[in-house]
């Protein structure tokens, strides 16, 4: 698979589509907390100023006011960074958006270590754990700008609250124009028979690169893009693991309580196999350039390939 360097980050893909969608759906509104020029929600704001509310640097009030507006049934997109949406504003998200099941769509930029250069205060590395835990919340994570555009539509066309994890920096284009994305779906990007590597977001690219280097060692890895994290594609995961007999979940997130824990739980119940989970190992990261940071914290293609090879070895020894 030859991946092209992406022209834009997923936050831009999501917001570009939101701008287009503003003419298709004339009822939804957008709330921001003074980072519209960073999430690109400003594009919508410039085109539809009467439907754009910049609530200042006050995320809890922004989310709560958005809930107040969404009480009328209106769909409201709320834009901020993952760390702020999932922690500073977590209580109104849980009790006043998820519990009443309102049509609030959280545009969450700077997911995982893609905000590497900004340092730990801006790296949302627990966001998936927090958001997937809330009843009614649905969680998406596009791996490229095209997926971000398509998943924006999915979130707008499905009732209830959504959390969409987006990336700060442009990475790689994975998908063409005609790919379809559905809630609870996944993409098998590479077929293989020795191990399944399930990833999401930016780590999908690292997983694909890892699969290439594994192939050179004679290990045939299958790569899944879990773009829908809640609900996620249990059928595809189980079908793949039944075929490969080994699983590595790789995620730009704390290993604890992320998708690795979720999938380990599924496999323990239905299909126990040699398993490993690459993510932050009960540690915070640090500032730095993205490639150095993900390598140090075990998420580079090279590190994933080593980890996957070890799981395949476990399978052989069993």
């Amino acid at each position: 698979m030859n991946l092209e360097k992406a022209s834009k980050p997923t936050r831009r893909g999501y917001s570009d589509r939101m701008l287009e969608y503003g003419s298709i759906d004339k009822d939804f509104t957008v709330f921001d907390a003074d980072i519209g020029y960073s999430t690109y929600a400003c594009l919508f704001g410039e085109a539809f100023p009467e439907r754009y509310f910049n609530m200042g640097i006050a995320e809890m009030n922004m989310v709560s006011a958005a809930a107040g507006m969404a009480n009328s049934g209106r769909t409201v997109v709320v834009s901020s960074y993952g760390v702020f949406l999932t922690m500073r504003a977590v209580e109104p998200v849980r009790s006043f958006i998820c519990y009443p099941n309102l049509n609030v769509k959280l545009l969450s930029s700077h997911g995982g270590l893609t905000a590497a250069i900004d340092g730990v205060t801006h790296q949302a590395t627990e966001d998936i754990a927090i958001m997937t835990t809330f009843p009614n919340m649905k969680v998406l994570c596009p791996s490229d700008p095209k997926a971000a555009e398509k998943l924006f539509d999915v979130s707008m066309q499905t009732p209830g609250p959504f959390f969409t994890r987006l990336m700060r920096d442009p990475l790689f284009d994975v998908y063409g124009d005609d790919e379809e994305f559905v809630l609870g779906g996944s993409k098998t990007l590479r077929k293989g028979s020795d191990i399944t590597i399930a990833a999401y977001g930016d780590i999908v690219f690292q997983a694909l690169e890892a699969a290439e280097s594994l192939a050179a060692q004679g290990i045939d890895a299958e790569v899944l893009d879990l773009y829908s994290l809640k609900p996620y594609d249990k059928e595809a995961v189980l079908a793949s693991v039944k075929k490969t007999g080994a699983m590595l979940v790789a995620e730009n997130h704390q290993a604890k309580n992320g998708m690795g824990y979720e999938i380990a739980h599924l496999l323990l119940k239905h299909c126990p196999v040699p398993f490993d989970n690459a993510g932050l190992e009960d540690t915070f990261a640090e500032s730095g350039d993205y490639p150095s940071i993900i390598h140090k914290y075990g998420l580079s293609a090279e590190k994933l390939a080593g980890r996957a090879a070890a799981v395949v070895q476990m399978k052989k020894e069993n």
Partner: protein, 281 residues
């Protein structure tokens, strides 16, 4: 003269209604053996004036799109909200006996969609105020005529979100938003000004570009007058700082810290009902 007599009649009616509300409050908290009587009783006159005089609502059409919206931001005081809704006819009085019980529509803190007339879920202090701001922005955006009313506690103003919401209400010129601050000067752990000094509250809200009205929150004529003035005020959001007594109407609860979140026992209920009967002239 004629007009004055009409107002006097309205005030007398509301004073009698407030007594009924207070009786329902203590009865339902006794029945549940759980709940918050102090802050429910302090807000009883304000809530009665809203529900039986000010709010444009129809208990037969709780989802009427043009209805005035109401959010009890001090959500723990929901017995007073539930009492008003029941007495107004949103649901049967009998329902009040189910407060906080298994499978009741009257949740420990009110949830939108569970009981008729609850426009927003509340219970975490400060967040209801922000939701009211969002509702008022919605009304402005859609050029709707309805008003949004909210009642806050004074301890609630400790929450930073209250001031975030206050700033945003000014930004969006929400003169369709009326807040009432139930200034009973007691919060869970003690005297509000000792727990966290917030005075001068009037100057604070003025500095946030709100119009401020100060009243005795147990003088029904003043309460009604202030609410009418607040509704008609244009250009700024309005807050009515209503000086009240926590536990108002029940002798042993008035201004006593311990009655924030404690139910009366059988004996205490009898005294409370006697106190309230005494006040029922």
């Amino acid at each position: 003269m004629e007009q004055q007599r009409t107002i006097q009649k309205r005030v007398r009616y509301l004073e009698e209604k407030a007594k009924e509300v207070r009786v329902e409050i203590v009865k339902m908290i006794h029945e549940a053996q759980s709940g918050h009587p102090g802050g429910s009783l302090s807000a009883a006159d304000i809530m009665t004036a809203l529900y039986f005089d000010i709010l444009r609502i129809d208990p037969n059409k709780p989802e009427w799109p043009d209805r005035d919206r109401f959010v009890l931001s001090k959500g723990h005081a929901c017995p007073v909200w539930y009492a008003c809704l029941a007495l107004k006819g949103f649901f049967p009085i009998e329902t009040l006996k189910t407060l906080r019980k298994f499978e009741s529509k009257l949740q420990g803190h009110p949830i939108a969609g569970k009981a008729e007339g609850i426009d927003a879920s509340v219970g975490s202090l400060g967040i209801g105020f922000s939701q009211a701001v969002g509702m008022a922005i919605e009304a402005k955006m859609t050029r709707s005529k309805y008003m949004v009313y909210t009642v806050l506690g004074d301890g609630e103003t400790n929450e930073g979100i209250v001031w975030e919401a206050a700033a945003s209400a000014h930004k969006y010129h929400l003169d369709n938003l009326v807040a009432v601050l139930d200034r009973n000067n007691l919060q869970n752990d003690g005297i509000a000004e000792q727990i966290m000094p917030m005075e001068p509250l009037d100057e604070k809200f003025k500095a946030f570009n709100w119009h401020v009205i100060q009243i005795n929150g147990h003088n029904m004529a003043d309460v009604v007058d202030a609410l009418m003035k607040a509704r008609d005020y244009s250009g700024k959001p309005v807050i009515i700082i209503a000086n009240t007594v926590k536990g108002k109407g029940v002798s042993y609860m008035e201004n006593v810290r311990g009655w924030h979140g404690k139910p009366p026992n059988d004996e205490q209920l009898a005294i409370a009902l006697e106190d309230l009967k005494g006040s029922l002239k």
